[in-house]
């Protein structure tokens, strides 16, 4: 059974490409959905936290601290426990893709906590005078945020958002713990099936590296452009 370094055999990869592509599509779906919903919910949380309204700020702070203190693996397992029961009570039996739905919920809610910290830093990076000026013009808090502060803040924090997107993309591989076949899960399954785990794992590593490296290089470019 021992494979030396020279008898790597990648021949099972071409035939498995459809499965792998399917997995990669799942990975992208979770990443994109969690990014959009996570940033949206993250903005809401950050605005709540800075609003000066005590109950809202307390809720947002506790939410963020809770999610940031628990390992993502635990969060995924939690939602795999809660979401199916919720879905059943809402839609009745017959929801086919429970794993996907619970992974998606877990990632959206979990990533929102991290995005909200980035957004908060972004908002605080906009100079205070802008807020005072917009209050002086008669804007309400929400109007100030939406029309004056957030457009500038979002521009400042683009590089950090992209960096977090890279982390999110990597983290989606953890759906392995609930047996969902994302890109990594598919690679593992194919490798296990064909007895070529070594080759498939190396292949998965290379693909992840290429995608993440490209994305993080883009983040660095953005950062340089912003500094200019």
């Amino acid at each position: 059974m021992s494979t030396g370094i020279l008898d790597l055999d990648f021949s099972s990869i071409p035939g498995a490409l459809p499965i792998l592509a399917n997995g990669l599509a799942t990975t992208f779906e979770i990443t994109v959905a969690a990014f959009i919903i996570g940033v949206g919910w993250g903005i809401v949380l950050a605005v709540m936290r800075l609003s000066g309204n005590k109950p809202l700020a307390f809720f947002a702070t506790s939410y963020v601290n809770l999610f940031r203190s628990v390992p993502l693996v635990m969060v995924i397992l939690w939602f795999y426990l809660i979401v199916p029961q919720l879905l059943k009570s809402i839609f009745g039996e017959g929801i086919a893709d429970i794993r996907f739905a619970s992974a998606l919920t877990a990632f959206c809610l979990f990533e929102a906590a991290y995005f909200s910290e980035i957004v908060r830093a972004g908002i605080q990076s906009v100079s205070k005078g802008q807020i005072s000026a917009s209050y002086a013009m008669g804007f309400t808090y929400l109007q100030t945020m939406r029309l004056i502060i957030l457009p500038q803040a979002l521009r400042n924090m683009m590089p950090l958002l992209v960096t977090q997107l890279v982390i999110l993309f990597q983290d989606t591989s953890l759906v392995y713990v609930i047996g969902l076949a994302d890109f990594f899960g598919s690679a593992y399954k194919v490798g296990d099936r064909d007895g070529r785990l070594v080759e498939l794992l190396l292949f998965a590593g290379v693909i992840y590296f290429i995608l993440c490296f490209a994305l993080s290089t883009a983040a660095k470019r953005l950062q340089k452009r912003n500094v200019r």
Binding site: S2, T3, I5, L66, S69, V70, P71, L72, V73, M74, L77, W78, L81, V166, Q170, D171, S173, L174, Y176, V177, F184, Y188, L197, V198, L201, L202, A204, G205, Y208, F209, C212, F213, S216
Partner: protein, 247 residues
Amino acid sequence: MAYNWNWGVFLQDTGIGNGETYLDWLITGLKWTLTLGLSAFAIALVVGAVMGVFRTTPSKILSSIGTCYVELFRNIPLLVQLFIWYFVIPELLPFGWGEQFKQMNPLLQQFLCATVCLGLFTAARVAEQVRAGIQSLPRGQQAAASALGLTLPQTYRHVMLPMAFRLIVPPMTSEFMNVFKNSAVATTIGFIELSRQAQQLVDYTAQAYESFIAVTLIYLVINASTMYFMRWVETKTRVPGFIGSSK
């Protein structure tokens, strides 16, 4: 379908015949999570410091070694790295070391892999902090050190690193907390740390909520303790006259 809460479940015997209760399982999990986190962080500090210093040296070779290391370990998911350490590296080792490795106690195999993997993964993050710390020092310090006739290694040893290491304590807090959170990934290779024990408890007792709540609380406590510990380190190592030292 009402859920039957039963917090007494932790005091029940596991029934596998060694007189352990489920609480003992949680304690075992906690013990392994802490051991894994602390040993991985020790590796991360050493390797991270070396790689971070490499990236700031004028030598092209050293700085590209540092850059390659950081990019490689930061751009591959931790889970993939763990599986590569666990399933791939033993196959590629020379001199039959791989065979020897596979004959070890499975728990030891998992622990070694998880520690090395998590340590080297975290090291890439630590290296970035070390680099940022060194680069945040006023340029004049290095110039002054060369003017005094210190060689480059001496400058690092006596002038730059003592400052840089103290400056990066606050950002290291979150890396230290991350190492414990990331240790949960080791559940995927079957290592019996906390989140594995949570899943086992669910399998054995079907009391999913109690088990998950208990383990989540333990993670919260680990996090809070790490934070307080690092705050204490911060007050001890603060550099007078620098940002954050005025509190």
